[in-house]
């Protein structure tokens, strides 16, 4: 799985962008988006997904169930 940003709730504050260890977050059309190919849910980097931890709006950086769970390389 990956995280996604709920665009309607995003304040475009950009706090998440530099926190992402995978450089998966970019600005698009005024809000920020997570590239599901790059997101690792911060597994192997930090205890919790950084985008969700720094986001000022609750439940805006959330797990995207459309993708399979991220598997850390063995």
């Amino acid at each position: 799985m990956t995280l996604k940003i709920i665009a309607s709730q995003c304040t475009s504050c950009s706090a998440c962008e530099p926190e992402c260890p995978n450089v998966a977050i970019t600005e698009k059309n005024g809000t920020f988006v997570i590239d599901p190919k790059k997101c690792t849910e911060c597994i192997g980097h930090f205890d919790a997904p950084q985008c969700a931890a720094v986001c000022p709006v609750d439940d805006t950086c959330v797990i995207d169930n459309a993708y399979p769970r991220y598997q850390a390389p063995a």
């Binding site: 709730q9 304040t11 475009s12 504050c13 950009s14 706090a15 962008e17 530099p18 926190e19 930090f46 205890d47 919790a48 950084q50 931890a53 720094v54 000022p56 709006v57």
Partner: protein, 523 residues
């Protein structure tokens, strides 16, 4: 960095030389002001009046900084550039989703800027408003949670507009990590928002902080925040950087505690303490707005400010402005400088004409202080315990030069036998719209200045005049376009004479309301 420092220092020296004569005259003119007009001692002196007993190097730093000197705020303008959208903490009085052009509160902006856009905007504003002397970065998030954008902006501006003072306003969490960089850019004014020094109280204000890749909550978060804030404050004052501490007064949560905060920041070398009323309304969507947490009344705020006044300078002229505000503190001209407009502007940054203009401003200031001193001398020997408040309609320059119906705010002065002291301001909705009076907004104005005995205006219509008299507030228009303090002292002297002769009886006034979220511009 080296060439940058040299450039800035040289330019600063040039500016100082140009105004040196004005300074000397001003020091002479204002020196007496401190002992005699301070009201309750040193407090209104350092930030309020002239140089007083401030060391010369500090006076040089604050004399044309509208936020650090009450005196300066009548004459000099500031601007904020919104280059720092990210924040590293969450406050219960802040909602980042909210953005409205008609709102005037910290954390609210109409558009974000890149450092390059910000630098262009600064030049455009500096060329249009020659009394704009200060560039601040105050968000809309936290400048130090966006260090690259913040410092890039300072870098660009210090190269192109070296006479402009740089300052920033932070929650302090990341401050200790950046103190050396701040000093390196010659940022000599830093504001830290400190609402508590007790983590138990902090837990009621801050739901979380984000630090070193982790979100902390509750008392642990508040402990981390207060430790970092106080450490950052100490590091700044050690380096001779002037620090202002902003505190939001939240009745029932930190109102009494702010006296402790005052002591804590004073002992760590803070220069100025700015206690501001909580802005809280349900429509702001903040935690405090939604849970019904009220802000303080005008009397509650003044009582707390008065009780903290002692060795410490108190700021009472803060307008709690937006992170993209432009202009004198009581006005906001940001709508004139949207990105679209500034990008189309031909900017000619003329340091010489800015200097010349600012010299004129200094002359105006000296004249104002001299007028006050002269009038104050006539009060000498008058003995009375009477202290009262008056409201003043002004557009700046220390003059009574605004029509009652056009005033977007009133400045409040406390009058006593020791003189006239600025003690605050009240925002009001425009009373006059389209040339005819609107009763509801007149009531709003009366509630906002209900603790005042008189309101000084350049002009006032017959209807509001009668309503003010009915409400017990004397409309005073005979000092139109004259200096505020001089006029106030003259009026007060006449008032005392009338009380002493038994013509009138002095009565205490009631409390007044601090308005939430008034308009920023005359629509």
């Amino acid at each position: 960095m080296t060439s940058l420092d040299v450039g800035t220092a040289e330019a600063a020296e040039g500016v100082n030389a140009a105004v040196a004569m004005g300074d000397v005259m001003q020091k002479i003119a204002e020196h007496k002001g401190c002992g005699t007009s301070g009201g309750s001692g040193k407090a209104s002196c350092g930030s309020g009046a002239g140089e007083g007993d401030l060391p010369t190097e500090i006076w040089e730093k604050v004399k044309n900084h509208p936020c650090y000197s009450e005196e300066a705020h009548h004459h000099y303008a500031r601007m904020h550039v919104a280059v720092a959208p990210a924040c590293n903490i969450q406050c219960n009085y802040c909602n980042r989703k909210y953005d409205c052009a008609n709102e005037s509160r910290p954390g609210v902006v109409s558009e974000k800027l890149t450092p390059e856009q910000a630098a262009k905007k600064v030049l455009a504003v500096a060329s249009t408003i020659p009394q704009m002397t200060v560039l601040g970065i105050a968000g809309p998030g936290d400048p130090l949670a966006n260090p690259e954008k913040t410092f890039k902006t300072f870098d660009l501006i210090s190269r192109t507009a070296p006479d402009i003072k740089l300052c920033l306003s932070t929650n302090g969490l990341a401050l200790p990590d950046h103190v050396d960089t701040i000093a390196g850019y010659n940022v000599d004014h830093v504001t830290i928002t400190i609402n508590m020094v007790d983590p138990e109280i902090g837990a009621k204000i801050y739901p979380w902080v984000f630090w070193k890749h982790k979100r902390y909550t509750g008392v642990e978060a508040a402990k981390l925040l207060t430790d970092r804030q106080l450490q950052g404050l100490e590091m700044l004052t050690e380096r001779g950087i002037l620090c202002k501490v902003n505190s939001v007064m939240i009745p029932g949560i930190n109102d009494k505690h702010l006296v402790e905060v005052n002591k804590a920041v004073k002992s760590r070398g803070a220069f100025l303490h700015n206690i501001m009323p909580l802005i809280s309304a349900p429509e702001h969507g903040t935690v405090f707005g939604l849970n019904g947490q009220r802000g303080p009344s005008a009397q509650e705020l003044k009582a707390l400010q008065d009780s903290c006044e002692g060795e410490m300078n108190m700021m009472r002229h803060c307008r709690q402005c937006r992170a993209d505000a432009v202009g004198l503190l009581g006005e906001d001209r940001s709508a004139e400088f949207t990105t679209e407009k500034i990008m189309a502007m031909e900017v000619d940054y003329d340091l010489e004409s800015r200097k010349a203009y600012q010299e004129k401003v200094e002359e105006e200031r000296v004249a104002k202080v001299a007028a006050k001193q002269e009038e104050l001398a006539t009060l000498a020997g008058a003995a009375s315990d009477i202290k009262l408040l008056i409201a003043v309609a002004t557009k700046g320059s220390g003059l009574i030069n605004e029509h009652f119906g056009h005033a977007k705010e009133f400045q409040v002065y406390e009058l006593s036998t020791s003189g006239a002291k600025f003690v605050g301001h009240r925002r009001v909705d425009l009373y006059c719209q389209g040339g005819y009076g609107d009763e509801d907004s007149l009531e709003t104005v009366i509630r906002a200045i209900n603790d005042c005995h008189a309101v000084f205006v350049a002009k006032i219509g017959g209807c509001p005049k009668n309503d003010l008299i009915k409400a017990g507030i004397e409309p005073v228009d005979q000092f139109a376009h004259e200096f505020i303090e001089k006029s106030a002292i003259a009026w007060f002297k006449a008032y005392l004479d009338k009380v002493n002769s038994g013509e009138i009886e002095h009565q205490e006034r009631g409390d007044a309301e601090i308005r939430q979220g008034a308009l920023i511009n005359a629509a």
